[in-house]
Symmetry: C2
Subunit: 250 residues, 2 copies
């Protein structure tokens, strides 16, 4: 496939176009896509045209451009994201019905926690998580679980890198983070108080597949000073249910 | 972007690779993808390699290839599919909890009904619908609603085309279909008994956005001879709730 003068492949350029769409930027003009993708204008224009012809992007009534249903369909119908989410949904609904706070499922993706599902009720508190959105591993309870049970490579890479503070309570020190990860493994769950938003506390447990590998984190987001015991009980009940669906023998 | 000798664009070839993945075919070898895409082997191989490098495809532990979380993320995070599904989920959960049968949300996509969501309970009956799967417009209750409220163009195209029989009760005659569509518009809902599977009956209602356009169908799948009145009441209550969330004034 023809590469550009800068050496990136056509697929790379296509990804750069798709990356300009975010949860808070769902429709754009062709010119905006071109500018935000950083691609030469003619190249961006051509890719957008091809993506529209293929149905992967769509024009709305104002001729602005958005992600097409066809792209969602192709990306979803055979995805692990759908398989995991389907395995988890009944358990998540029960956790949400009992705890009445945000109930979430996350996986590890490119050194971050990627959220596959979030269920919320009308009385649930503050929460920044979005479906198909991400949070840093060192700051979120889901991320701490995914990191604590991740590979040694991943852990060392994160501990050696930047640990940005999202709030005054985010763990930003490698020694403290190493201690926290050991604690998560000992307890079998992560509690992250105020580290994403000061007003809330995340509680997360690992979900394993039939090989014993941690494939996801199941979590709830509670008001900061809420007791965590009942949530933990429900999360463990929920993750056992998900693990049974994934074929884990108990 | 360089076109192939057959004149299809790189985007077209990329779509042909992605299309080889289906709900029942979630992992494949590179050779299988090459064969099923119908692309020259070297071309398929190069595209698969680029998609893996970009994270849009992933290798599993056996080096077989599957859809990547990154593709799901890019296709989902700003999609209309997610927006509609999020608007509909609380209402769908209530319908499912009360009727205790499959509860579904579908949109029109390339002359078929594309299902964005499906909620099912442990006691729900037979159902062929899958999330990100499709059903024909003339056979499913969701499809009949989307067709009845679709454009004249769409209706004439469908009425002039093939109307395949999925069961002995699928409407396969254009005159009968035209009559059925008029009935759907008069009643404000569609009942499709035995037309997808003989053992079940679909019941669907239209969901409108703030401009009055029908943007989705909300449906339940009942055992064939179950009464439909309670389901219809719940569906109308549910679709009003979704429409309020979408900004429709009642």
């Amino acid at each position: 496939m023809a590469n550009s003068p800068t050496g990136d492949s056509v697929t790379d350029r296509l990804v750069r176009v798709l990356e300009t769409f975010t949860p808070s930027r769902t429709v754009q003009t062709a010119a905006e896509i071109g500018r935000r993708s950083g691609l030469p204008r003619s190249s961006a224009h051509r890719i957008v045209g091809e993506l529209i012809d293929a149905g992967l992007l769509e024009r709305d009534d104002d001729r602005r451009i958005r992600i097409g249903m066809r792209l969602w369909e192709l990306a979803t119908r055979s995805s692990q994201a759908l398989r995991l989410r389907q395995a988890a949904l009944p358990a998540m609904e029960r956790v949400q019905a009992r705890i009445r706070e945000h109930t979430q499922l996350a996986v590890l993706e490119q050194d971050e926690a990627l959220f596959l599902e979030r269920l919320s009720g009308p009385t649930s508190g503050s929460n920044v998580t979005r479906i198909a959105g991400r949070l840093p591993l060192h700051a979120s309870s889901s991320g701490l679980v995914l990191l604590a049970y991740g590979t040694r490579d991943l852990q060392e890479r994160m501990l050696a890198g930047r640990l940005p503070r999202l709030t005054a309570e985010t763990i930003a020190d490698p020694t403290a983070l190493r201690r926290k990860l050991a604690e998560v493994r000992t307890l079998g769950h992560a509690v992250a108080q105020g580290s994403i938003e000061l007003v809330s506390t995340g509680v997360a447990v690992p979900v394993r597949d039939e090989t014993g590998t941690v494939v996801a984190a199941l979590s709830v987001v509670l008001p900061r000073d809420a007791p965590t015991a009942a949530a933990l009980d429900e999360l463990h009940r929920g993750r056992r249910e998900i693990e049974r669906t994934l074929g884990v023998r108990s």
